[in-house]
C-alpha cells in the first residue's frame, strides 16, 4: 500500500501507454493453413503414388502451397477482434468529444510531426485558430494541456490520434514523395478501411482522394475538430513526411468516395 510520502512525492505519476493485453481471437488463417497443408499432402501423395496421376497430384501440391500462404497471412491478424477494436476506438473518440465539449473548443486541429511534439506525432486543438506554422514557436511538451506560444491564449490540447499511432507501424518515416504509398499501406493494407488512395500536391495544399471508403462515422465534436478516421491518418502522415504542421482544410464524402484537402502550415 503506498504511503503518504510516496503519494505526495514528485508530482503526478507518468501515464503509461503500454499495449493492451487481450488474448488473441481464434485465427482462421492458421486453421485453414493446417487443413490445406495436411489434406493437400495426403491427397497429393495418394494421387502420385497410388493413382500415378501427376495432374491430380498437382492439385494436392497447389493446396499445400495455398496452406503455406494461409499460414503466412495468419501473422497479419490483429491481436484483438474487430468488434473489441471498434468499441475501444469509439470509447476513445467519445471521451475526447466530451472533453472538447466541456472546454468549448471548436477550432480545427493542427497535426504536428514527432520532431515538434516531443517524440510522438500529436494533434493540437488550440483555443484560437492557428493559421501559420510559425505561430508554433516552441517545442510542444508531452502533456495534455500545452502552451505553444508566449501569449495568454496560446494554449491547446495535445492529443494522440489514430494517425499518430498508425505512424508507429510504418517501418520508415515517410518522405515527402511517399505520402500516397504510406497512406495506401495504412488505409488499405493495415486498417482495411479503403480500396485505394491517390494524393497530389499544389503548393501548400495536398488533395487526398480515397476510393472504396468503408468507415461510417457520426458527426461529433471530435470529427468537427480532428476530422474523420481517414483524415486524421492522412494529416498525420503528411505532417510527418514534410516535417511541418498540417491542418485539415476540407473534407467531403460521397458514397464510397472521400476527399480530404490538407494544408501545410508554414
Amino acid at each position: 500500500m503506498p504511503v503518504a510520502s510516496e503519494l505526495a512525492g514528485s508530482g503526478p505519476p507518468p501515464v503509461e501507454t503500454s499495449d493492451l493485453a487481450v488474448s488473441p481471437p481464434p485465427n482462421p488463417y492458421r486453421r485453414l493453413g493446417a487443413g490445406l497443408c495436411l489434406g493437400g499432402a495426403i491427397y497429393g501423395a495418394a494421387a502420385y503414388l497410388l493413382l500415378n496421376s501427376p495432374p491430380l497430384a498437382a492439385i494436392g501440391m497447389s493446396a499445400v502451397l495455398l496452406g503455406a500462404v494461409s499460414f503466412a497471412l495468419a501473422f497479419s491478424r490483429p491481436q484483438v477482434s474487430g468488434e473489441a477494436a471498434r468499441l475501444m476506438l469509439q470509447a476513445g473518440t467519445q471521451n475526447i468529444s466530451a472533453l472538447l465539449e466541456e472546454l468549448n473548443l471548436t477550432t480545427p486541429a493542427v497535426y504536428l510531426p514527432a520532431r515538434l511534439a516531443g517524440g510522438q506525432a500529436k494533434a493540437l486543438i488550440p483555443l484560437q485558430e492557428i493559421s501559420e506554422g510559425r505561430e508554433l514557436a516552441r517545442l510542444i511538451p508531452a502533456r495534455l494541456i500545452v502552451r505553444y506560444g508566449p501569449g495568454e491564449a496560446e494554449m491547446a490540447l495535445a492529443v494522440t490520434t489514430l494517425g499518430s499511432l498508425c505512424l508507429e507501424s510504418l517501418e520508415n518515416k515517410p518522405k515527402p514523395g511517399e505520402v500516397t504509398q504510406a497512406l495506401s499501406y495504412l488505409l488499405v493494407g493495415k486498417l482495411d478501411i479503403a480500396r485505394g488512395v491517390h494524393c497530389w500536391r499544389e503548393g501548400n495544399t495536398v488533395q487526398v482522394d480515397i476510393r472504396g471508403a468503408r468507415w461510417q462515422e457520426r458527426s461529433t465534436r471530435y470529427t468537427h475538430c480532428l476530422g474523420s478516421l481517414a483524415a486524421t491518418v492522412a494529416a498525420s502522415v503528411l505532417s510527418e513526411a514534410v516535417g511541418q504542421p498540417v491542418r485539415i482544410k476540407a473534407e467531403t464524402r460521397e458514397a464510397d468516395m472521400a476527399a480530404v484537402t490538407l494544408e501545410i502550415l508554414r
Binding site: Y29, Y48, P54, P55, A57, A58, I59, M61, S62, L65, L66, A68, V69, S70, F71, A72, L73, A74, F75, S76, R77, S169, E171, S184, Y185, V188, G189, K190, D192
Partner: protein, 82 residues
C-alpha cells in the same frame, strides 16, 4: 481482412486454373506444375503491394522455401538427364 482474403482467393483461383489448363494440355511432369504454381505465387504476391509487414515477411519466407524446392528439383532433373 478483405485484402488478405482477396489475395488468398487470387492465388487459389490462379493455381487451380493453371493446373486445369496444364492437365488439359496433357502435361505429366509434376515439376512443371510446381514451377508454374511458384510463378503464380511470386507474381500475385508482387501485385499485392500493400500487405502488412509481418505477413509480407512470412510470405518472403514461403517464397524462399519455394526457391529452395525449385533448386532441389533442378538438381534432380540434372542428375536424371546425365
Amino acid at each position: 481482412m478483405r485484402l488478405y482474403n482477396l489475395y488468398l482467393a487470387a492465388i487459389a483461383l490462379a493455381c487451380l486454373a493453371c493446373d486445369v489448363l496444364l492437365a488439359f494440355a496433357g502435361q505429366q511432369e509434376l515439376s512443371v506444375y510446381f514451377i508454374y504454381n511458384m510463378g503464380i505465387f511470386l507474381v500475385v504476391t508482387a501485385l499485392f503491394t500493400y500487405l502488412d509487414g509481418p505477413a509480407r515477411r512470412a510470405l518472403s519466407a514461403v517464397g524462399a522455401g519455394l526457391l529452395l524446392v525449385l533448386f532441389v528439383v533442378v538438381i534432380l532433373e540434372a542428375v536424371g538427364t546425365t
